[in-house]
Amino acid sequence: MANKSKNLKRQAKTIKRLLKSVRQEYPRLIIVFISIIFYTVLSLVAPVYSANIVDMLWNHIQDAINEGVKFSITWQTGGREILILLIIYIATAGLYTLQKFLMTSFSEKLSLSLREKISHKINKLPLSYFDNHKKGEILSRATNDLDKMSEALQTGLLTLFTSIGTVVGSIIMMIYFNIGLTIVFLVFMIISMVLTKTFTKKTLNYAIERQNQIANLTSQVEEAYTGRIIIKSFNQENNSIESMRQVTEQVAEATRKADFMTNAINPAIRLVNRLGQVVIAVFAGKLLIEQKLTVGVFQAFFQYLNQASEPLTEASYMLNSLQSALASAERIYNMLDEKEITKDPKNPEVVENANGEVEFRNVSFGYTRNKTLMKNISFKAKKGQKIAIVGTTGAGKTTLINLLMRFYDVNSGEILLDGYDTKKLTRENLRNNFGMVLQDTWLFEGTIAENIAYGKPNATREEIIEAAKMARVDFFIRTMPDGYDTVLTSDAENISVGQRQLLTIARVILCNPSILILDEATSSVDTRTEIEIGKAMENVMKNRTSFVIAHRLSTIVDADLILVMQNGNIIEQGTHKELLDKNGAYADLYNSQFA
């Protein structure tokens, strides 16, 4: 129970925030609200009014028959009332249309404003957020979650309000007409509500089962497509088809059950409602014969009955979807509430075209507060030096770079660029001095030229080609169907990992930064090309500081300073020769690579 009230409190808070963020839309909401009230009242009035017309017509017709004349509707004998009914109906439809259209743009605008907040937030979140959250999770917040919310707000809110109004109003009217028949109706209504509840529970279970089976199929399909060459080369096609068949059969089984449950709920409830109608019709017939009921009232009663039974199931369904919409909104607010990176200093120091002196002074750091990875690290890179960082996977090589670029902030100690504490610069200014190539190559959907010019959008085609030539990727680009204007797809299956690496190198060369960082930048390129790139880079980097992480030691033997890392700390530093002479960890590593 305590849990439930806590939940309610949280939901109330989310609703408040949502309302707050749509403040400028209040007039629109007020109009919608007023419109809903009028709409509900009018749609309750219409059936009574039409019942009166039917009764009136009936009386006029009886009179006409008694007088022995033919009857036709004139202004006096019902025409005026029918016109009024028409006006009532047109007004109802008009209000309905008004609400619908107002809500459509309202909910989309709300989700647009939240999306815009997210797009701003993404750039302000610390990198640790991205480390700790799955890609798909962040993605689905901005897309699915918001779409769900917008859909629920758009139809859900309206349906909920009008349904409640209609149901309550209809039942009141029904009681007013005939309390006995109303009681019969209420009995069946309760039955259908109970039915809805049990169905919903079952449906949920089947939906979960279906989801599990689909997850199972997904992993099987992924595995089969990725490993298809192996399947073929070992002639395992038939076995593989057979096991795929088993899984698809399981999915079909689960889908059948889940789909049936989802689709059966409406007919089932309709069946109950209709059974109720049968009983009511028989009772009403009896009352009609006994003249305790008029034909018009009978008709009106049935209209209310129809009006009341449909929205009821709808309202309960909408309540569920609104709840999940709230949950979606809550997840989005959680993301928007995440702690942001620290603000840049107000009066920052400025380092333009840095000399390239970098110093780590007693730096300590941990990705989580309570676990320090790096303790008291110090080293110094002089202008124009090549600094190599080596060590096994997880030794903290990339962490060092992350700190240098201020993707993360140090726990204690300081990092200096040209003698300035990097914390005293703006991040933009700091990063402007660096060019970075990562092992994990990132290209976006766009042409090759656009990708190379990412850091310098105003670059000319000549500059782009020049950079590509330096990165030894010009020839490859020319063999592509549209050359530099070839569009890279998002999964970029049209180019290999090695070629992607070369493109990202070209991108950095074009930027012409003061300091270069290569984080396993050529790991997927063969040794000969690697050396060629190395030579090209040597020209680019002449008199500029560079940081190189490499697992192939042959590329870094000429470094001015080699940092050997282990468990987050620098355990050895020096030149290749010094370190070999020392016969320590570096010598071990080196000898294990060259038999």
Binding site: A64, K70, S119, L271, E445, D491, T529, A595
Partner: protein, 577 residues
């Protein structure tokens, strides 16, 4: 659309029964108001209580019949659609296995997965909606109008008139909707792509100080999406309102004209209720169908994508003469004869004029830089590609003249990226030979330097996670080598399969291989010179052409490219600068 009928045809009985139950449901829904009006007209008019009870029982029967019809109908429909989905998936998968490397790459792994999973799902769901919401419409339409006519001609005409107007409006809206929804889908995809790029590229974006640019890019795609979503939703709202309006108008018209018809004695008062219900039912069904039809373009795109897969003919076909391949006779296992290969969409040949042989009992190595076409050679031998000109023969027979199965029976392959299937180590090794005994498996593991399996708690039964992620790169490579060794083949291809091994293991493994594979040919594709120094024959590839063939010593003397490769890998400290 044809394709869906192809699948539906397989379940004729199921279809007929589904349709039958839908008819039950619809007719029942229409009969109830008719009976109600009878009850009032005759029963109340003649004050006959028994008649009312009789009609009440009839109503009960009809209600139950129609309700059961609806329930059974939706059960059969779910069954039908899930069967169709299953069949489609099976067919897509079967087809995918026939594909050549290029065929498959055309679609891409990610897209193939989407096609097999999501696209089929969309088709399946749309199929259900169509059967439940669209197919009843004509039935409802015809029988509803017929019943209205049986009450009164004028009223029948009125209903026809209103319905036709609604249908015309619906067609008009659908036309517009198709465009809007296609646009919406495109914007949604774009939004997803840009968001994904922003999340995966967060480091690069920040390193290049492109935060603001990316924020603008995101915002633009968001507002594009919002604009077209508003349009799309507006369309739905418009349709909804229109229907609402039409129903109301229709009710008033029934009152007016119906009143007059009753006045002249052509109709009873109770008929008004019945007619009103017919009108509401018909219009309700038309609108529901409309909602489904608006979503059809999306399903059509999915169907088209599925069809693309099923319609693609594999570019590689089995030769006619498949069985007469002699084993272990010919001293030359594989022979490349002036072979040239070019990808269909490429301007230049990937491999040009390649000629060399792999001899029984000998090791042939291929070395070259990234993109020199080394791996393509392995794929050509396995017939994952077909040569463009020249030929490749196995035991003297052109590989295009044998079945792919018997060709691959003779070859055992270790891929560049070690790939293990989820299951156990034993399951994976059985890929090589289904009947392998534990001893054979352990032997193969020993040769592959994968003795670590013995130290595992569950040994051969150790669980392998999807993609083999619970093993290190080196372990995965050794396991996939063991898997290949269990298969008795005449040619063993190692496609850069030693890259994740340290030098010691590499050397030990090669020594063990030499001892084991005395009667087969071995082809090693490598980047590391140390892996291949002892090969009987080394083929040096550069930009798709052979620039040298010989032993290590010979090539060091006369092949410039080989020398360069060697130099780049020697100990930099001593021999470099």
């Amino acid at each position: 659309m044809k394709i869906i009928f192809k699948y539906v045809k397989r379940y004729k009985g199921l279809c007929i029964f589904t349709l039958l139950f839908i008819v039950f449901d619809v007719v029942g829904a229409l009969l109830i108001p008719t009976i109600t009006s009878d009850m009032i007209n005759i029963g109340v008019g003649s004050k006959n209580l028994d008649y009312i009870y009789q009609k009440g029982i009839l109503m009960l029967v009809v209600t139950i019949m129609s309700g059961l019809g609806a329930l059974l109908g939706s059960y059969l429909c779910s069954k039908l659609s899930s069967n169709i989905g299953r069949d489609m998936r099976n067919d897509i998968y079967k087809k995918s296995l026939d594909f050549s490397y290029t065929n498959f790459k055309q679609f891409g792994t990610a897209s193939m997965i989407t096609r097999t999973l999501n696209d089929v799902n969309v088709v399946q769901q749309t199929f259900i909606s169509c059967v439940q919401m669209v197919i009843p419409v004509p039935i409802m339409f015809v029988s509803g109008i017929a019943m209205a006519f049986s009450i009164n001609h004028q009223m029948g005409l009125l209903l026809v008139f209103v319905t036709v107007i609604i249908i015309i409006a619906a067609i008009f809206i659908t036309r517009k909707a198709t465009k809007i929804f296609e646009k919406l889908q495109r914007f949604l995809d774009k939004m997803n792509v840009i968001l994904r790029e922003n999340i995966t590229g967060v480091r690069v974006i920040r390193a290049f100080n492109k935060e603001e640019y990316e924020e603008e890019r995101l915002k633009k795609s968001f507002s594009e999406y919002a604009d077209s979503a508003i349009k799309a939703n507006g369309l739905f709202a418009g349709l909804d309102s229109l229907a609402f309006f039409a129903i109301n108008l229709c009710i008033v018209a029934i009152l007016w004209f119906g009143g007059n018809q009753i006045g002249v004695g052509n109709m009873e008062i109770g008929d008004i209720t019945a007619l009103t219900e017919y009108a509401i039912l018909i219009l309700f069904y038309v609108i529901m169908a409309q909602m489904v039809i608006i979503l059809l373009p999306r399903a059509r795109i999915c169907l088209k994508r599925i069809n693309e897969v099923l319609d693609t003919e594999s570019e590689i076909k089995d030769g006619k003469d498949a069985k007469n391949i002699k084993r272990r006779k010919n001293p030359i296992v594989i022979k490349f004869d002036k072979m040239t290969f070019k990808f269909d969409d490429a301007d230049e040949n990937t491999l040009e004029n390649i000629s060399f042989t792999c001899k029984r009992g000998k090791t042939t190595a291929i070395i070259g830089s990234t993109g020199s076409g080394k791996s393509t050679i392995a794929k050509l031998i396995m017939r994952l590609h077909d040569v463009s000109s020249g030929s490749i023969s196995l035991n003297g027979q052109d590989i295009r003249n044998m079945s792919q199965k018997s060709l691959r029976d003779h070859i055992s392959y270790v891929p560049q990226q070690a790939w293990l299937f989820s299951g156990t180590i034993r399951d994976n090794l059985r890929y090589g030979n289904e009947n392998a005994t534990d001893e054979e498996m352990m032997h193969a593991l020993d040769i592959a330097q994968a003795g670590f399996v013995k130290d595992l708690e569950d040994g051969l039964d150790t669980h392998v996670a999807q993609g083999g992620t619970n093993f290190s790169g080196g372990q995965k490579q050794r396991l996939s080598i063991a898997r290949a060794l269990i298969k008795k083949a005449e040619l063993y291809i190692f496609d850069d399969s030693f890259s994740a091994l340290d030098f010691k293991t590499d050397a030990a493994l090669r020594k063990a291989l030499e001892k084991e594979l005395t009667t087969s040919a071995v082809l090693i594709i490598a980047q590391r010179i140390s892996t291949i120094v002892n090969a009987d024959q080394i083929v040096v590839l550069n930009d798709g052409e052979i620039v040298g063939v010989g032993t290590h010593q010979e090539l060091m003397k006369n092949c410039k490219i080989y020398q360069e490769i060697a130099k780049s890998q020697l100990k930099g400290g001593k021999n470099g600068k």
